[in-house]
Symmetry: C2
Subunit: 296 residues, 2 copies
């Protein structure tokens, strides 16, 4: 069985009727499972996490697009979170038995569907058509309010749809990315400088591991500090390598790791290399796990 | 979703028609997945591995029993493997969202079904009704040929069915057990004495970890020795504890671990405590794994 996930963001966090109708439409799509709906009133934004067979996930995403474009008017939208469209961001995440190329073909199908509705689309991350569009922050820079001017710049012609400002629906970012692994490591010290130094030693930005973003955080209530990390490609920068790098960098200060947290969903594949490393089982495959027989 | 597995052994390894009809009957049972059929002509024995919803697995097992009791005549059976019945051993293995008690109720339902067909049944391992019946070796001691005499001993009255020798079908052992984890650790030495010492230090028999069976093995082609282990309860004796015990016991000889092997199927639950230990993520749950959403 192939499994694709989407964690789609729409610019509506208050209108329960619309939010529920989107959730229902996803749930009612054969072959799709809705994992979570997280709505935030201050952000005026909802995030739908769903997964299933790739074409079924595409189908659910189209329904989400239809309902959101009909029910949201960006000209009236207010919210604290950066946003540029009614359907703001649609990332597709390959979870099982499909690769980036296959996820990309689904992303392109959805992009072209949205474009045909007269809504400009920018592809980002692994779907980006130009290097400067990989980063969502750059794609969304200036937000909805700047879109009209931004599209007149040839560098920001949309990838799909007309290069014409759509006042009601704004624009949509559609992307492909690996599942994130969110790993926080708590250190037995209250010295934030140490967490900062560890974060800098392990993160890509400062010469560390390529697919690691990291910051130091104060956990004042616990009397500890934390290295808070996102691993953006667990295949190329596996979890154990991040863990052991933090461990040896921490030891130089006479500090030890008290505990760690894997936050939110973890892809099964992220455990494969971990088992191989810690148990030295060089040939281990997650397909050996009994339960995977039930996923085929 | 609850998942129960069975790894059922029947005393027929040559008759393809019968073996295929049993395999087909299992496959055609709604809610059951047949993982493997392993037939051995010298043993004259076949092992069917299948899993699914508990009641569906019971249903498939009943079909296997019907076909095997009809198609196998133990009075004519020859084979190298110890055996006492047409349906020789039926272990039920709780894999997901059910406990031993629930697996036991399925084992008892099958046992009573087999008994009602006039075939004596002995419950073993976690289904045993007396301590001396826990060990399958003891239950099967003397094999088919000794059954008639054995059943006249009050200590070996069957748990189900008549205490009357059934010449055609023999007797059946029905049990409940945890999934095994088969872990082999290869040492960077060709000295078998070291592997033997490590095996003795880690196994229950000689004062080691309670749910570990271990032997030292010579891998002469590789120029290495191996500590070959079965972990019979990964919840109470977790994999990392076995690994790290072997590691520190090995280090005293100046020998290191070259590699390891997890042989065959591994239950997902066996990875939970491993991740908690090696990543110090004390709160990790396998339910965080994205793919488990597809198992519900």
């Amino acid at each position: 069985m192939k499994v694709l996930m989407s964690v789609t963001n729409i610019s509506e966090g208050k209108n329960r009727e619309l939010i529920n109708s989107v959730a229902d439409a996803i749930k009612q799509t054969e072959g799709v499972k809705l994992l979570e709906v997280a709505s935030d009133k201050d952000h005026n934004r909802s995030v739908f996490s769903y997964l299933g067979e790739p074409l079924a996930v595409l189908e659910a995403s189209k329904k989400l697009v239809d309902l959101s474009i009909e029910g949201i008017d960006m000209a009236l939208h207010k919210g604290d979170h950066p946003r540029m469209g009614a359907v703001d961001v649609v990332p597709f995440i390959p979870v099982r038995n499909l690769d980036t190329a296959e996820a990309l073909s689904i992303a392109n199908k959805l992009g072209s569907y949205i474009g045909a509705k007269g809504v400009p689309v920018y592809y980002y991350e692994d779907a980006a058509t130009r290097p400067e569009r990989r980063n969502l922050v750059m794609v969304r820079k200036g937000q909805y309010e700047a879109l009209n001017a931004k599209m007149s710049d040839p560098a920001w012609l949309p990838d799909e749809g007309p290069a014409i400002f759509n006042a009601k629906s704004g624009a949509t970012a559609v992307g492909v990315r690996m599942p994130l692994v969110a790993l926080n490591i708590n250190l037995g010290t209250d010295d934030l400088k140490i967490a900062d130094k560890i974060a800098r030693s392990v993160r890509h930005l400062n010469g560390g591991l390529r697919y690691v973003r990291a910051i130091g955080i104060n956990l004042s209530e616990e009397g500890m500090v934390q290295v808070s990390m996102n691993l953006t490609n667990y295949e190329k920068t596996p979890v154990h390598r991040v863990m052991e790098t933090v461990r040896f960098e921490t030891s130089r200060y006479g500090v030890s790791i008290v505990s760690a947290e894997l936050v939110g969903p973890v892809p099964l594949g992220a455990l494969e290399e971990m088992v191989r490393f810690y148990l030295q089982v060089h040939e281990f495959s997650v397909d050996q796990i009994i339960e995977t027989n039930l996923l085929e």
